[in-house]
Amino acid sequence: MRLQFPLLLCLIAGVFMAVQYFVPAFLPYYNRVMDYIQIVSAFSIVLGVASVVHRHLGRMRRRGREAKRHPDWPYSLAAVAGMLGMMLAGFIGGRGQESIFQQLFNSILLPVQATMFALLAFYLASAAFRSFRTRSVDATVLLSAAVIVMIGRLDDLGRLGIPDVAHWILDGPNLVSKRAIVIGVGLGMASTALKVVLGIERSYLGSGKE
């Protein structure tokens, strides 16, 4: 019972959403179901949030025989404090451009995320030196196309015609290969979706029948 009913619900919801794509008469019910999906998926975001909080709170509690806390507990405390501060600022001070809520976003969240990804440029530079090798025919074709495209985007070697070659690489081989990948990925997505609706693919329900 614990497995059959959810799979039945999944089948009904899936078949309805696929069929409504072709039947205008179902539009009012389609709109209603879309609202339901919106609300439930919003809850799943909150679930993600709750599990983050759950993990950090867990780290702060004393556990085990000697009631020892997790070594990183001060960082978890900082995380929980950051969250509470942000919620207080949001619910009390509002979310306008001048609000503390927005300032916290601009000066804590934005710099951390932006800088974390800026680090990738450094790893790229060192990889360019140490691991991008024309070791195989594949890698040779790839690196030469990459160099042409990179130079082509700098626009000042127009005389040598490199930007035109670069543009052709984008509209030629890149277009045909990405089109084949889009078609392949599309078919893969559609078949995975079909297996989920029919209950053949049920790994999301968690393993076992407990």
């Binding site: 794509y21 205008p24 179902f26 060192s126 990889a127 090798r133 594949d138 893969g188």
Partner: protein
């Protein structure tokens, strides 16, 4: 002051032109015109609950500069006599015509509309009631015929091959070159007496790439066990971790060397992406593996793993369906398994019915796509050569039309 004989006549004429000017620009406030060309039509291809009403501005009201305050839309429902107000439109909007979808109506029942113009001074003028129009309910998006056929063919193919695979029918899948590359890498690595490092991607168990990787891990573990060599498997996902343990243990069992399985060679590191990457790089530098197999789902950290592996001098085979990471793997690794090849490798080894069946179904569908493209291009070219106009029969066949108006 009146020194000029013509003065009065010119003054009178000036006065006259002034008033005419005023009249021309001033709204014909007394005669407030009704809204123009009120049209009501059923919204095509819908559930019959919507009527599309549109009307132009009253005569003399050019884009909301003069005398008109707002337009009110009134509706007379089926069987009712009185009109009730639906909505009002402020005339200050800079729109030449107003359009509005009136929703929540009853399919098949007649409705009539009237638009009342309300002037700044409270004057009103109404249009004659529109002819009764009933919203119709349609049962099929007639512009989606080709999509429906394509979807039905797809579903039929996938189900047919899934059943065939489950019944154990012989379904041919070619052996992809990547598997030979893995066998060769593992072979050379065990000759040098060095361990093999296997990273099953950093995604969860529900990710198709992770499942494919676990299938290949089983084959690799069995081969390594038969050479009595060592395999190291660091994990990032707590649910994938126990599965890798079982798969490797089973591999050693099948190879006939269950006692060679080392418990602490298959371990869980952490869930944090960059901390996991740092730990695996540390293992690479310490253990100096002869071969690195990076198979599964990867994100931005793929670059660091591949670079450290290359610096340690290991033979590296990568395989992922993360298209954005593939360029880095190709340049940093000795061989790369691209996108769907990973699923094909897993289906070839595991022969697992659901993966095998759906892969075959997709393959046959892809052949149909190739055939349609070839026919389309040939007929289009022949049309161009003979009639000077590219024949777009096949283009029409596959072109997707938005539901639109």
């Amino acid at each position: 002051m009146r020194g000029d004989r013509h003065g009065p006549r010119r003054a009178r004429r000036a006065l006259l032109t002034l008033t005419l000017l005023l009249l021309a620009t001033a709204p014909a406030s007394s005669a407030l015109g009704p809204a123009t060309n009120l049209t009501v039509r059923d919204r095509p291809l819908d559930a019959g609950e919507v009527l599309k009403v549109s009307f132009g501005r009253a005569a003399g009201d050019s884009l909301g500069h003069t005398g008109v305050a707002r337009y009110e839309l009134w509706r007379q429902g089926p069987g009712a006599t009185a009109f009730d107000s639906v909505r009002s439109f402020s005339a200050t909007q800079k729109l030449p015509t107003f359009s509005f979808d009136d929703t929540g109506l009853k399919p098949g029942r007649p409705y009539r509309y009237v638009v009342r113009t309300v002037g700044d001074d409270g004057q009103t003028a109404e249009t004659p009631p529109s002819a009764p129009v009933a919203p119709q309910r349609q049962w099929f998006f007639t512009n989606k015929v080709n999509t429906l056929i394509a979807t039905l063919i797809f579903v039929a193919l996938i189900l047919a091959y899934l059943r065939a695979a489950r019944q154990g029918k012989k379904l041919f899948i070619r052996r992809i070159a990547g598997l030979d590359a893995i066998d060769e890498a593992v072979g050379r690595c065990t000759e040098m007496g060095r361990p093999t490092l296997y990273v099953p991607g950093i995604s969860t168990i529900s990710d198709v790439a992770t499942i494919a990787s676990l299938n290949i891990l089983g084959q690799v573990a069995k081969k390594i066990a038969s050479y009595q060599a060592r395999i190291i498997v660091p994990n990032r996902d707590p649910i994938v971790y126990p599965v890798t343990q079982d798969v490797v243990k089973e591999g050693f069992l099948e190879a006939g060397y269950p006692h060679n399985y080392r418990e602490d060679d298959v371990y869980f590191v952490t869930t944090d992406q960059f901390a996991y990457t740092a730990a695996v790089c540390g293992t690479m530098v310490r253990e100096k593996p002869g071969a690195n197999l990076l198979l599964g789902m990867f994100y931005a950290e793929s670059l660091i793993l591949a670079e450290t592996g290359a610096s340690v001098g290991a033979i590296q085979i990568a395989g992922t369906d993360a298209v954005t990471q593939l360029p880095f793997f190709v340049t940093a690794c000795d061989y790369t398994i691209i996108g769907e090849e990973l699923y094909a490798a897993s289906a070839y080894i595991g022969r697992e019915p659901t993966l095998l069946g759906s892969l075959k179904g997709q393959d046959v569908y892809k052949m149909i796509c190739i055939a349609v493209i070839v026919l389309g291009v040939l007929t289009s070219t022949i049309g161009l050569l003979f009639t000077g106009e590219a024949w777009d029969g096949f283009n029409q066949l596959v072109r997707v039309r938005g539901a639109g108006g």
